[in-house]
Structure formats: structure tokens, C-alpha cells
């Protein structure tokens, strides 16, 4: 148990899986959230010039309070800078490079202890190219490792891929990431799921997530009773249909805590004093 750490989501996946599109969408839809987005390099991320408020080397400040940082080959240094930002961002989104292993990145970030908490590894895969990548001499084991470390796998471009490719990809994801939650979605749908942060109970009902193929259901649990937070989180995390959850609850000892959950991974931290009880849960309608 600790003070609230900076929540961080890792977005992994090979070239072409939709990571950059996702980062773009996130930046455009941040609304009142202050996002810190880390990318390997700016090159592939076209940021609209009129969005840029200031640029200082590898750190770009965007209108609305979001920042975007390119970390090159020193992710840990970039994260140290983000951690020391004042005011602190609400959420860090880390776009891993195409050949990076998100599991190894998560492990490194754990060195920040309570300051930064990985609350999810999201691996994107392109439904059309996944079968080829998994049979590629050079890259297949990298893709396998990216899938294995995912809490949430998002199969993208299912609307573009031939149906037989999509179903093959679906099967391959099931085989290589058996414990991860799997979603099929267009990128803008994912953005909203990932930004489910700082959600108040009221805003949750406004969520309009319409992913491809599998419908999602958003439930709000009022959490009026005290609970064993860890046991509660474990139950949610072990439910294969639960994709994402976030909110606050009060434990039997009177401590108010925040739950962050992505797929099978969750973290529980001390909640801000003003936090209202209530947890939003997004799940696949089984």
C-alpha cells in the first residue's frame, strides 16, 4: 500500500499494429486529462503544429497540458523527467518500439517503486499481418514475447483483414496470450478504454465504446460497503471478460483506496482524500 503513484500504461506491438494512430488519438481525446505520452522517437508521430505550445529538445508541451516526450535509447531517464514534472501528469502512456519487449519494460519501470506504477501492458496486433509475423524467421519470437506479456491484447484492423485471416489471428492470440483479455476494436475505441482514468462515476455512463465484433458493457459498482480491496480486485482480474476497471473503495480498516485494472493486472494505491466511492468496470458481454 502506498501513496498514489503515477499510473503508466505500456502500449506495445510490432510496426503497423496501430500504436502511433492510438497515441495520436489519445492526445486528441485527452480532454481535461494531462497525459504524458512517451514515444521512441518523434519521427513517426506527426503532431499538429497548432497543438504544440512549446518544444524543449525531446519534450513537447501541447495545448491543454499534455506533454509528449521522445526517449530514444534512455527510457529510464525520460521517465525520471516525467516523474519530476510539476504539476504531475495524470497518466503516462508509453509507446514501446516495434521490437521492444513490453514485459521487460514493465520490469524496468518497477524500479521506480511507488512513484510510477504500470497498470497495464497493452499489446496491439494487426489481424492481417499477425499470421505472417508469427512465421517470420527473424521476428516470430519477438511477437510471441510481446503477446505473452500482455494484460490486454487488441486485435486491430479486423475490419480490413479478410475474415479468414482475422479468425486465424484470433486463434493465434488465444494460443500465445492465453491469460490476457482480448479485444477487437478500431483504435479510437481503444483510446477511450485506456483513458478510463480519473473517471468519476457520472462520466462513466457517457462512455460510448463500440468496438468491432465484441460488444462491451460498462457497469458502475457503487461500492457503498467496505471491502477487502485485494480480494475484490483478484476476483475482477481473474474474470476473463473484465477488460478494464478503475475507481475507489473503502476497506474494512477505513482506508480509502484506488483500484486500477487492465486485463489481469491491477494495482491498489491510497486514494485521494476527496475520492468518491465507486468503480467502473468494462467487460465483454459474455
Amino acid at each position: 500500500m502506498s501513496d498514489t503513484g503515477l499510473p503508466l500504461t505500456i502500449i506495445g506491438g510490432y510496426l503497423g499494429a496501430g500504436k502511433t494512430t492510438l497515441v495520436n488519438t489519445l492526445l486528441r481525446n485527452a480532454q481535461e486529462q494531462r497525459l504524458a505520452v512517451l514515444v521512441n522517437e518523434f519521427g513517426s508521430l506527426p503532431i499538429d503544429a497548432d497543438l504544440i505550445e512549446a518544444q524543449d529538445g525531446d519534450l513537447v508541451t501541447l495545448a491543454g497540458g499534455c506533454v509528449c516526450c521522445s526517449y530514444g535509447d534512455d527510457l529510464m531517464f525520460a521517465l525520471t523527467k516525467i516523474r519530476n514534472m510539476d504539476p504531475a501528469p495524470d497518466h503516462i502512456l508509453l509507446e514501446a518500439s516495434g521490437v521492444a519487449l513490453p514485459g521487460a519494460i514493465a520490469s524496468s519501470i518497477s524500479l521506480f517503486g511507488d512513484d510510477i506504477r504500470v497498470h497495464g501492458v497493452v499489446t496491439l496486433v494487426d489481424a492481417e499481418t499477425l499470421p505472417d509475423l508469427l512465421s517470420d524467421t527473424y521476428i516470430s519470437d519477438t511477437i510471441t514475447r510481446q503477446l505473452k506479456s500482455a494484460d490486454l491484447v487488441i486485435l486491430t484492423k479486423t475490419d480490413l483483414a479478410p475474415p479468414e485471416k482475422t479468425s486465424l489471428s484470433r486463434e493465434l492470440v488465444g494460443r500465445h496470450a492465453p491469460s490476457a483479455s482480448v479485444l477487437e476494436s478500431k483504435v479510437d475505441g481503444i483510446a477511450r478504454i485506456l483513458l478510463l482514468d480519473d473517471v468519476s462515476v457520472d462520466r462513466a455512463s457517457d462512455l460510448d465504446i463500440a468496438p468491432h465484433k465484441i460488444p462491451l458493457v460498462t457497469n458502475t459498482l457503487s461500492m457503498t460497503e467496505t471491502v477487502d480491496a485485494d480480494a475484490f480486485a483478484k476476483t475482477l482480474a481473474s474474470d476473463p471478460n473484465v477488460v478494464r476497471a478503475k475507481g475507489h473503495m473503502v476497506q474494512a480498516d477505513g482506508n480509502r483506496v484506488t483500484l486500477q485494472l487492465v486485463g489481469g493486472r491491477y494495482s491498489i494505491t491510497n486514494a485521494p482524500k476527496t475520492a468518491q466511492s465507486g468503480i467502473v468496470v468494462i467487460s465483454k458481454s459474455a
Binding site: 518523434f42 534512455d74 531517464f77 518500439s97 521490437v99 524496468s108 518497477s110 524500479l111 527473424y138
Partner: protein
């Protein structure tokens, strides 16, 4: 003004006049070699006989090293082997853990600022029976200032409690394979891998950009070049931001700076498109002593760090395969675009799978962008087999092999990383020569010391530190080795038209030796004493620096 140097012997590496006694130079360029009467037609000259008892050979070319070696000498050297400092002090190697700790304690005692960090480098516990160093041992030296010791491999660091505290790592509950824990649940102070070292290294006095070099470091590097007989040296993985280029231009522009520097822009941290644009912008800023406009791509990791990409049958100890540091698509883009634009690319590949990826990719992009003399060079290329050398030849690739590696870590490769058969074929210079692949050999300084004559000795003898010979068939001859450290390396940089041999029209770059390498021969070449260098006609004596 024409100067003629006389020498006991001049090894020209020019087969038309392989051995002569005099060399005439004007404005930094060689007019010719031969006898005094052959120079008459050039006009009046001054005869300089200060090298009358010395042996001259072409200034040596180190095709894979880093200016960082100069920066590291501002820290305490704690390596196992004796190593010459830039100032010419032979620093005794630390043969036991206690000797290392004593050297650190002495360095600590010299620090006046009580908060100053104490950085040290080149620790190699493999020579101490892999005895682990603990933070407690370093705390005994100082518990108030941060201490950090970089291992020789560059992949591991040992730090004291204060350093862990400053980096926020002195706590229980850490769960990371690169951070071993003691019985108290706290880190032991050993940190493995760049992600783990990075948050701590800045607190113990290492630069964040480990490969960078400041101005004093460059001058120290220059001194090392003079002592090693090197007149052209690469800086093989440079980011080259504007400030760094300004420093490089300023320092190399000084007539007292004794080396030509060839920095290669490395691919990390920029998009492939921006990388190409950056080197295109850098190229026109080149000067005689600073050659910009080349690219270095790091394809995989290291063998001893188990991050190199190996083909079947993989690592000898069963470690999982290593890591890619660039997606194959980006590699293909950079190679193809560079071929079209005439930009030279060197690729770091340690494992044979990484080498194969470059070979396959080159075969594909050369069909799209045919190029006759690209001289793209595979760097390290430690595990390539004979078929891969044949492919290099077919594709017009060069190779620069890590000959020193055998001496320092050959036994470890034999016992642990790749096993006996592949340890014997590592850095297969003999195969490169047999298959006709243009090749060089290197030190990767600061990983191993800058010293082409020692590197040549390693490639000829293939001995490990314990005396085992690794790969009789891959030994090369004296002629091949001397060529590899001069013309061979120059060829991989497209500089063989300017340097690498002593012949008319080329730059007056010489290594000045006390001993004759041909007399020293295969077994004693490493004992050849270097007097200094001549760069573009300017004399640099090791005794003066």
C-alpha cells in the same frame, strides 16, 4: 617546404615499394618514398633524421572504437590487466578484489569534495572466480559519497549503499532480474543491464550518454592514439547533436590534435527518415580531420550479455535468444536509402542471426538499388560461419572483426556462451582472408584497450588470457594482420585512397616505432614499442604528452 624523413626502415604497405628508407612530404602529403636522389626533382628539401633509428609504418587505423575511452580516464581504472593511461603511466591491473578495493580507497582519499562521486571502470569479476562484489565492501570505502564501478563489458555496474539511496533503490520489494537481492531483501549493489544502470549511473559520476566524450576526454583520447600509433580512429556510435559536432570541429581543428576522427551517427532515438536527413546535413561539415556523414546501425546486443541474436542451436547454456535493437523494416529502409544516396552504413551484429538478417536484407535492397562500391561493413560479426563470409563477398560487404575479444573473454565463450566449436570460429579472420572478404580487426575501446598492434597479435595467435588457443584455422599471418590495421580498416571507411599506406599522393600519416614489427614477428608483435606518430606531416612524440 619539403621535408624528407630518413628511417631505419619504412614499411609502406605499398607492394610496389614495400620497404624503403626515406619518405618526402610537402603540405601534409607524401611526395614519394625511396632514395634521396629520387626526390631531387621535387626541389630543395630539409632532411630530418630524427627517425634514423626508428621504423615507420602507415599511421594505424582503428576502425571500431569510441572516444569514450578518453572520457573514462577521468575515472579510476580498476581493470585486471595493466593498462597505459593517456599520460603514459602504466597502471597496474587489480589482481584481487582486495587490490581493487585498495585502489578505490586511495582514489577516495584524494577527493576533496565530501559529496563528490567516485566512479571507476573496467572491473572484470570473471578473473576473480566470479566473486561477487557487495555494496558493503564499497561502503567500507565511503558510506557518504556515491561509488559506482562499471564492469569491463559495459553491461554491469557495482554501486555502494549511498548510490542506491540516491537512485531510490535502497528498498525491499524490488523484483527485477537485473537487481539481485541480499538476505536482507535489499539490493546487493550489483546492477545488470542498461535500464537498471541508467537511473544510478548519473549519481555515481558517469555521463548519462555513456558513449559521449567531452573536450578534455577528446584530448586524452588523442594522447592514447599517439601511444598506440593510431592516426585515424572512428567514434563508432555517436549521437552527434549540434553541441557535440561543434566540440569535435573545434578540437580536431586544433593543429595539436593528433588524430583524424570518423564519427558514425547511430540509429537510436531518431526515426529512419530523420537519421538519413541528419547525416546528409552533417556530411558537408566534414574537414580533413573530422569525417562526418556515415551511419552505424545496432542490430542486436552482445554475446556475453546474452542479448545477441543467435541462430540455432542458440546459446550453449540454454539462455533464450537475444534482442533486436531495430525492426527489420527500418534496417531495410536505412540500407536501401543509404545505397541510393551514397551514404555509408556500418552494422553492429554480434550474433550470427543478426548477421544473416543484414545479409538477407542487403541481398534484397541491392537488387533495388544496385551499388558497386558501397563497402557497407559488418562490425563485430563475431559468430559468422563460412557460408556467411561467402555471402559477404558476393554482396560486396566488408567485415571488421573483434579480434581482442578472444583474449579477454574467449574462455567464457568456450565454457558458457556459445560452446567450444563456435568459440573456435569466432572472429574468423582466417576465413575472411580465404574467402576474399575485405576485413579489419578492432579493439572496441574502451571495452578493450586501444592498440592495433596488440589487436593484430590477438588475430595472429588467438590466445585467451589463460593461454588456450581458440581456432588454429582462423589465425592470420603477419602480413595479413598488419594490413588489417592499416589499409584494411581504411578500406572499410572509404579512406584507403588517402591513408593506410605510405605512398605518393597519400596523407603523411605514420606510426613511429622503436622496434621493427617484422623482426618482432607473430609471437611478439604485441611487444613492439611505439615512439609516437606523424599526422599530416606533424610529429607527435609519446614522450611529450
Amino acid at each position: 617546404m619539403i621535408t624528407v624523413f630518413s628511417a631505419r626502415k619504412i614499411l609502406t604497405m605499398n607492394p610496389q615499394r614495400p620497404v624503403t628508407s626515406h619518405v618526402a612530404i610537402r603540405d601534409g602529403i607524401i611526395l614519394g618514398t625511396g632514395t634521396l636522389d629520387e626526390f631531387e626533382g621535387w626541389g630543395p628539401y630539409t632532411l630530418d633524421d630524427r627517425f634514423a633509428d626508428k621504423v615507420l609504418m602507415p599511421g594505424m587505423v582503428e576502425g571500431h572504437c569510441h572516444l569514450q575511452e578518453g572520457a573514462l580516464w577521468s575515472h579510476t581504472y580498476v581493470g585486471f590487466f595493466d593498462r597505459m593511461s593517456p599520460e603514459g603511466e602504466m597502471q597496474a591491473g587489480c589482481k584481487t578484489v582486495d587490490e581493487m578495493l585498495a585502489k578505490l580507497a586511495a582514489a577516495e582519499a584524494r577527493l576533496e569534495d565530501p559529496d563528490a562521486a567516485l566512479p571507476a571502470w573496467s572491473l572484470d569479476p570473471i578473473y576473480f572466480d566470479n566473486q561477487k562484489i557487495t555494496r558493503g565492501q564499497l561502503d567500507a570505502i565511503s558510506s557518504t559519497r556515491p561509488i559506482g564501478i562499471m564492469h569491463a563489458s559495459g553491461h554491469i555496474m557495482n554501486v555502494n549503499t549511498k548510490a542506491l539511496e540516491l537512485a531510490g533503490l535502497l528498498r525491499t520489494g524490488i523484483n527485477h532480474e537485473g537487481v539481485p537481492l541480499g538476505s536482507d531483501g535489499l539490493p546487493t549493489g550489483e546492477l545488470r543491464g542498461p535500464d537498471v544502470m541508467s537511473p544510478v549511473s548519473i549519481h555515481v559520476g558517469f555521463d548519462r550518454d555513456m558513449l559521449s566524450c567531452d573536450e578534455p576526454g577528446m584530448w586524452r583520447f588523442g594522447k592514447l592514439c599517439i601511444r598506440a600509433g593510431v592516426t585515424t580512429a572512428t567514434d563508432l556510435a555517436a549521437r552527434l547533436p549540434e553541441e557535440a559536432v561543434e566540440t569535435l570541429l573545434r578540437v580536431t581543428g586544433n593543429t595539436n590534435f593528433p588524430a583524424r576522427i570518423v564519427p558514425l551517427r547511430f540509429h537510436h532515438g531518431v526515426s529512419p527518415e530523420d537519421l538519413i536527413a541528419h547525416v546528409e546535413a552533417l556530411a558537408p561539415q566534414s574537414t580533413d580531420k573530422l569525417r562526418l556523414g556515415r551511419i552505424k546501425i545496432v542490430v542486436d546486443g552482445s554475446i556475453q550479455g546474452f542479448t545477441a541474436r543467435l541462430r540455432a542451436p542458440g546459446y550453449y547454456n540454454g539462455s533464450p535468444n537475444g534482442l533486436w535493437y531495430i525492426p527489420p523494416e527500418h534496417l531495410a529502409y536505412i540500407l536501401e536509402t543509404s545505397l541510393r544516396k551514397g551514404i555509408q552504413v556500418h552494422t553492429h551484429t554480434n550474433g550470427d542471426e543478426a548477421t544473416q538478417l543484414v545479409l538477407d536484407t542487403m541481398a534484397r535492397v541491392l537488387r533495388k538499388a544496385p551499388s558497386l562500391n558501397h563497402r557497407f561493413t559488418l562490425q563485430h560479426c563475431q559468430l559468422a560461419d563460412t557460408a556467411q563470409f561467402r555471402q559477404m563477398k558476393e554482396l560486396g560487404l566488408c567485415v571488421n572483426l573483434f579480434a581482442n575479444h578472444h583474449f579477454y573473454w574467449g574462455d567464457q565463450h568456450y565454457d558458457l556462451t556459445v560452446g567450444p566449436e563456435r568459440a573456435e570460429r569466432m572472429n574468423a579472420a582466417g576465413t575472411a582472408a580465404r574467402e576474399g572478404v575485405p576485413f579489419a580487426i578492432h579493439s572496441d575501446a574502451p571495452i578493450t584497450p586501444l592498440g592495433p598492434l596488440f589487436t593484430a597479435w590477438c588475430a595472429m595467435n588467438r590466445q585467451t588470457a589463460t593461454g588456450r588457443t581458440l581456432g588454429e584455422a582462423e589465425k592470420i599471418t603477419l602480413d595479413q594482420a598488419l594490413r588489417a590495421i592499416t589499409l584494411g580498416a581504411a578500406y572499410t571507411l572509404h579512406l584507403d585512397n588517402e591513408v593506410g599506406s605510405i605512398e605518393t599522393g597519400k596523407r603523411a600519416d605514420f606510426a613511429v616505432l622503436e622496434d621493427d614489427p617484422e623482426e618482432k614477428g607473430v609471437e611478439q608483435l604485441n611487444e613492439t614499442r611505439v615512439w609516437g606518430t606523424v599526422l599530416g606531416g606533424t610529429v607527435f612524440a609519446a614522450s611529450d604528452v
